[in-house]
Amino acid sequence: MATETAALAETGTQAEAGEAISIEGLTRRYGERDALAGVATRLGRRQTLAVLGRNGAGKTTLLRVLATLLLPHGGRVRVLGLELPREAQALRPRIGMLGHDTLLYRDLTARENLDFYARLYDVPDREARIARLLEATGMARRAEEPVRNLSRGMAQRVAVCRAVLHRPELLLLDEPYAHLDPEASALVEPLIGQAAGATRVLVSHDVERALAESDRVLGLRDGRAIVDAPAAEVPSEAIRAIYGEIS
């Protein structure tokens, strides 16, 4: 079982040490509003960065910049040694994102969806990889059903398969355990949890779990980083400040 889990979680070449993410003075605006204003942080390879903050603090914007979906308007962003946005195309095969949307086509079956993404990412031994992931997430029996017939939790499990299909080195996770019951959470844990061995950026409102799973915490408030420290060194006052309980 351990070998199987390790094989499923295999996340590409991660042997090299050093920084996985380096952000300096990152700004991103929506019209006149600063969604991110001078955010800076660093993260080592295979480590987890928990991004905490209230709604609208800039967490999802940060994730979308790292996912190459949004252009930074200022500052410097390096991910897995690649400069964004200049080297976005080289970065894309190395990242996997699990966000609010499952990014699945409702009229296609779970297997067809995964097959589609596997073709886009040119995943070797496509069918075997898909079969193993569906088995690991407990979705093999429902694999031939259109996604529209699946519950939100089941669709989320398929979305986990989609996000890790191409063995990404960096996982961008926005509330990854949302919609999952404890059993389903345990099933996907080897794929997107710390055991996966990938560098992770984890956005979550489950502060306790995020702190327990992370090496570093980035606290955002109104687009500004008010906490950037190793998880073990973040005092509870700082967490309260992130959520606005202390001004």
């Binding site: 979906l69 252009l71 949307d101 990014l103 086509y105 886009l120 040119d122």
Partner: protein, 223 residues
């Protein structure tokens, strides 16, 4: 090429399963022919009137399909999955244009025989090989321009309004050439004079707008 094939394959699979675009386009075309048939009160059309009725109907039917080209991305999976994938953005354009081309060909396989049934006495089957060349070249242009404009319109709230407003002026040259090439083919007696010249015009339109779409699409998909 691999990515374009994967996306086009996915689009055709979704269309086969939902049957949303092609049946609506075909139904629109057939209904329009019925309206023309009774509205004009004529059992036979020829020359430029026949060409006009045919191409106006095909163009408006095509708009229905173009409007739905990115619906699966807009309402279901979102664009993020495609934009994060390690693929050239132009492969999305190629895939959507290819899918639309298949929709248009399917539409014409239904619409052309119905058009002949309603309006053409004889000689239609004789003209069909050349008419097929005209429609194929016009379809390629419509598919490329339609895919490019649909990718712009899909991000706007007024997409259903915006698409025809953008599309119709840009397709005027192709429609003029297609109608002009079709006119002698649907004339009595059947004629092929000038068809070759208009086929060249259509091919040029396809090439120019193909290059334009290729150059612009990456920019249109940015952020």
């Amino acid at each position: 090429m691999r990515a374009a094939l994967a996306i086009a394959r996915k689009d055709l699979l979704v269309e086969l399963r939902t049957k949303e675009s092609v049946p609506a386009m075909a139904l629109f075309a057939v209904t329009t022919f019925v309206i023309f048939h009774f509205g004009l009160n004529r059992n036979r059309l020829e020359g430029e009137l026949a060409a006009g009725v045919l191409w106006v109907t095909l163009l408006f039917a095509a708009i229905l399909g173009i409007n739905r080209l990115f619906v699966a991305e807009r309402e279901q999976a979102g664009f993020d999955g495609l934009l994060m994938a390690p693929i050239e953005r132009n492969s999305l354009l190629a895939a959507k244009a290819a899918a639309l081309l298949v929709y248009l060909i399917a539409l014409e396989l239904i619409a052309l025989p119905v058009f002949a049934l309603f309006f053409i006495d004889s000689g239609f089957w004789h003209a069909l090989p050349r008419l097929a060349a005209v429609t194929l070249l016009a379809d390629i242009g419509l598919a490329v321009v339609g895919a490019m404009l649909a990718s712009i319109a899909v991000h706007t709230r007024a997409r259903d309004l915006l698409l025809p407003i953008l599309l119709l002026p840009l397709t005027v040259p192709a429609m003029i050439a297609a109608a002009a090439a079709t006119k002698p083919l649907l004339s009595v007696p059947f004629d092929t004079g000038g068809v070759g010249k208009w086929l060249v015009v259509l091919a040029l339109y396809d090439a120019v707008f193909g290059l334009l779409a290729y150059a612009l699409f990456d920019f249109l998909m940015e952020d």
